[in-house]
């Protein structure tokens, strides 16, 4: 889709150094949305753009609290624990004018459950969605699912009629290289309407005058011009030179510069993402180490020693410039199951660590490769480098291999790494999500990101039970005991919770969304 002559001249001029219309917001971040089909990709930037155009039934406001979007209220059915009831907002229309009704919800959910959908894992507990009148929808789950709403916050509602008319009923099959109308066009209920889009270059949104919430939200921003800028230096330069008003990922070292620049400000908030190292304790022998016939990482004492060796304060102060919260567990604070005690960071103790190494029979240390992404998390490569130095303190000779995420993550999912960095966000705000992917033994549909080779049937059973346990107290108890085991095992080496920082022109006023998803309808311009 390309801007035509008329449009390109009428839209605010990107490169003009003087600001165009005061209520136009120039928004830049590293990556671009992958597709406009709201169900085809479950990925940050994609959702971030979709959030402006489409809406879910419920979402979390900038503070993480539930808030009705297209549903006004919801809750478990009083007479059937396996049913959730959502009452829909009335008088909502799609951008093309069609009314939003229960059939659209039924359609959207079913669509999101379909084969090619990337959202289906979030919905695997739902067996049926049925409309009860135009403005009520019932979700039937395979068992009681206490945290169902948490799985719906990124599940966007499409218009059935529109989708059918433009044969976009099926989700775009990206892997199959399919292009559908819905992957290039949008018709949501959201506050902003898509004007034009060139992937990776520029996307223009304009205010939806008929938005149901037109009087409820500030909606100061009437036009959004979204430009992905990969190169961090260039991105910051664009903000510094006033060419953009709002960038999402400011390199930590540039925060001061941005903050101290007239007309610019930086706001920060803890992000819903924890950074940690994983160790392959499962394998009998390691590929990338110099110990034959044995796996040093299988020895709990070695893992504990490594945990003690990491100087989280130094990483926080130097590498992250205080833009991080040292972590003791691999769950972000927002998550159900997180406790301050568990999350208390282990303090560095090289002596104790060396003692443990001695005990474990690795007094002379050993060598191993650390696999690390270099384009995924904040300063990921630098953190790994620091870790290399720290491991050297206890005689572990680490050889660092930093790669683009495209090459890093396969190592984890294909069991090709023994020592790796990973970051994890929890959209559901519930520990179950973490356990499913990181703790459960690797199976068909669980544990796909568990590269530690850790397996424990009891724990697995407990994890599975979580999905159907209705009694929240019991459930939380289970969660707590799983965490106990995880910590005792030193399954992972937590490093820190990332802190989000948004840089913006100071006429922009907002708070940071823990999921790094700005919702511009909340933004105030002054």
């Amino acid at each position: 889709m390309r801007t035509n002559l008329m449009v390109s001249v009428t839209v605010a001029l990107l490169a003009s150094t003087s600001f165009a219309a005061a209520n136009t917001l120039h928004w830049a971040r590293a990556g671009d949305s992958l597709t406009l089909d709201p169900h085809a990709q479950n990925e940050g930037p994609t959702h971030a753009l979709a959030q402006q155009i489409y809406e879910p039934l419920v979402l979390r406001d900038m503070t993480g609290a539930y808030e009705g979007a297209l549903a006004t209220d919801w809750g478990p059915s009083p007479d059937d624990p396996n049913v959730w009831i959502f009452n829909l907002r009335e008088g909502v229309t799609f951008h093309d004018g069609a009314d939003f009704t229960s059939e659209d919800v039924v359609f959207s959910i079913t669509r999101a459950q379909s084969e090619d959908s990337d959202m289906k894992e979030l919905l695997n507990s739902i067996v049926e969605v049925r409309a009860d009148g135009d403005y009520t929808v019932e979700f039937v789950t395979d068992g009681p699912n206490p945290i169902l709403p948490a799985n719906l916050t990124n599940l966007f509602m499409m218009d059935r009629g529109w989708a059918e008319a433009n044969d976009s009923v099926d989700v775009q099959d990206i892997e199959g290289g399919e292009v559908t109308f819905a992957s290039l066009n949008t018709n949501g209920t959201g506050p902003y309407i898509l004007v034009s889009r060139e992937p990776d270059v520029r996307t223009v949104l304009t205010l939806n005058e008929d938005y149901w919430g037109i009087d409820m939200f500030p909606l100061d921003v009437t036009e959004i011009i979204y430009t992905p800028i990969q190169n961090a230096a260039t991105r910051v330069a664009a903000l510094l030179s006033g060419e953009v008003d709002f960038i999402q990922d400011v390199p930590v070292q540039d925060l001061d510069r941005v903050a101290s620049t007239d007309g610019l400000e930086v706001i920060t908030a803890p992000q819903n993402r924890v950074i940690f190292f994983g160790m392959n304790q499962g394998a009998a022998d390691l590929e990338a180490d110099d110990v034959d016939g044995a796996n040093p990482l299988a020895d709990l004492r070695v893992r504990q020693a490594m945990n003690l060796a990491i100087n989280r304060d130094a990483i926080q102060q130097i590498v992250m410039r205080d833009q991080s919260e040292p972590a003791g567990m691999i769950a972000p604070p927002f998550v159900n199951g997180w406790t301050a005690e568990l999350d208390a960071a282990v303090s560095t103790d090289i002596a104790a660590a060396n003692a443990l190494m001695e005990e474990a029979g690795y007094g002379d240390g050993f060598s191993i490769r650390l696999d690390c992404p270099n384009d995924r998390y904040i300063n990921d490569e630098a953190i790994c480098q620091a870790a290399v130095g720290m491991m050297a303190q206890i005689g572990i000779d680490v050889n660092l291999a930093a790669r683009p995420k495209a090459q890093h993550f396969p190592l984890i999912t294909n069991d090709e790494t023994d020592f790796y960095m990973l970051g994890w966000g929890v959209p559901t705000y519930d520990s179950e999500y973490i356990f499913n992917f990181l703790v459960h033994t690797r199976t068909e549909n669980r544990g796909s990101w568990n590269g530690t080779g850790y397996t424990n049937e009891d724990i697995d059973a407990m994890i599975v039970s979580l999905s159907s346990e209705t009694d929240l107290d019991v459930r939380n108890a289970t969660i707590a005991s799983i965490w106990e085991e995880v910590q005792a095992e030193t399954l992972y080496l937590p490093v820190h919770h990332q802190v989000l920082n948004w840089g913006m022109a100071d006429h922009v006023e907002t708070i940071v969304d823990p999921e790094d998803q700005p919702r511009f309808k909340y933004f105030v311009l002054n």
Binding site: A15, L34, G177, Q230, N231, T234, A237, L240, E243, E444
Partner: protein, 324 residues
């Protein structure tokens, strides 16, 4: 004449085939597209399914054959990343890169030739030596660094020029140009300069040495003995003879400019095929990468071809088959 042209054509096909092989085989190794296509929540089953769909499980040869036969039909497959025909995606970006390449090539050529002539005529003057020495700085710093410095100075500190992007473009059919808008022009300056600097130095040095050679020729001495003014000798006789060999090299330079745009475009977020290529590498978007390489080599071959013809056109000695 016809023979040499045909010969060229055949060779070009050979070149393209080879590039095709490389282009394809190259990226069968870089990363695994599957991991980018599937999000955090994905199961082993998904991975298998996707690999099947992408035909990633077929033997290499099969995949290459499919690739070739499709490429022949201009079908380079569909971008994993954007879910649109790779060729479409690339062609959409071509104008940006070509515009950048042409502007910087023109810049490099004109300035390079002028300075080259000057330094050749005034071999010994300190100005020429200064020019030569300074010009070397242009090739002694990596392009990306120069780019970043320029951004820092002209965009951040002085705020004169935009730091990224292409400004506003005006569309004519599938072609879009930034040459018609003020912001478009301003956006061109820094990238074009960054990109052209290296070529500028090369061409300048080439012209200098070629012209110094020419100035040693008998016909120049003879022209002098006939009482022609230095102007006439330098600009009517020497320059023309100098430019003939320069044309070839310059032609090839345009080819490499397009290729080197990768770096410049990354630094300036210039929405051309270079940037697209780098993106596609990050996302292991094989169809894009492959078609990029094919496109580059096609351009290269075409340029080569054009240069040969141009050569025939400007050098009378080659025109009637002699020494061709």
């Amino acid at each position: 004449m016809i023979y040499s042209i045909l010969k060229r054509a055949v060779q070009s096909v050979f070149v393209l085939l080879l590039v095709g092989l490389v282009a394809f085989s190259m990226f069968r190794f870089v990363g695994d597209p599957v991991d980018n296509l599937l999000g955090q929540e994905r199961t082993e089953a998904d991975i298998e399914r996707v690999r099947q769909e992408l035909g990633l499980n077929d033997p290499f040869v099969v995949q290459y054959w499919d690739f070739l036969s499709n490429a022949a039909r201009g079908d380079m497959g569909v971008s994993f990343r954007q879910g649109r025909p790779a060729m479409e995606v690339i062609l959409e970006r071509v104008p940006a890169t070509l515009e950048l390449a042409l502007v910087s090539a023109t810049f490099a050529m004109t300035l390079g030739i002028l300075l080259g002539i000057y330094t050749a005529i005034h071999r010994k003057s300190w100005i020429s030596n200064a020019i030569l020495a300074i010009s070397l700085i242009g090739v002694s710093l990596p392009t990306f660094l120069i780019g970043i410095f320029l951004i820092y100075i002209f965009a951040v500190e002085l705020g004169w020029l935009p730091s990224f992007g292409r400004g506003d473009v005006v569309d004519f059919g599938w072609w879009s140009t930034g040459l018609l808008t003020w912001t478009g022009l301003k956006s061109l300056i820094l990238p074009a300069f960054t990109l052209g600097l290296y070529q500028l130095t090369l061409i300048m040095r080439l012209v200098r040495s070629e012209m110094s050679e020419v100035l040693k020729q008998d016909y120049i001495r003879f022209a002098r003995a006939r009482g022609l003014s230095e102007r006439a000798i330098n600009f009517r006789h020497a320059v023309k003879n100098t430019l003939i060999p320069v044309v070839t090299v310059a032609g090839l330079q345009i080819g490499s400019i397009i290729a080197f745009a990768i770096i410049t475009e990354t630094v300036f977020q210039w929405p051309g095929i270079g940037l697209l290529f780098i993106n596609s590498i990050q996302f292991v978007d094989i169809p894009i990468m492959a078609s990029y390489l094919m496109l580059i080599s096609v351009m290269f071959v075409v340029i080569n071809f054009a240069v040969d013809l141009l050569y025939l056109a400007i050098d009378p000695r080659l025109r009637d088959g002699k020494g061709a």
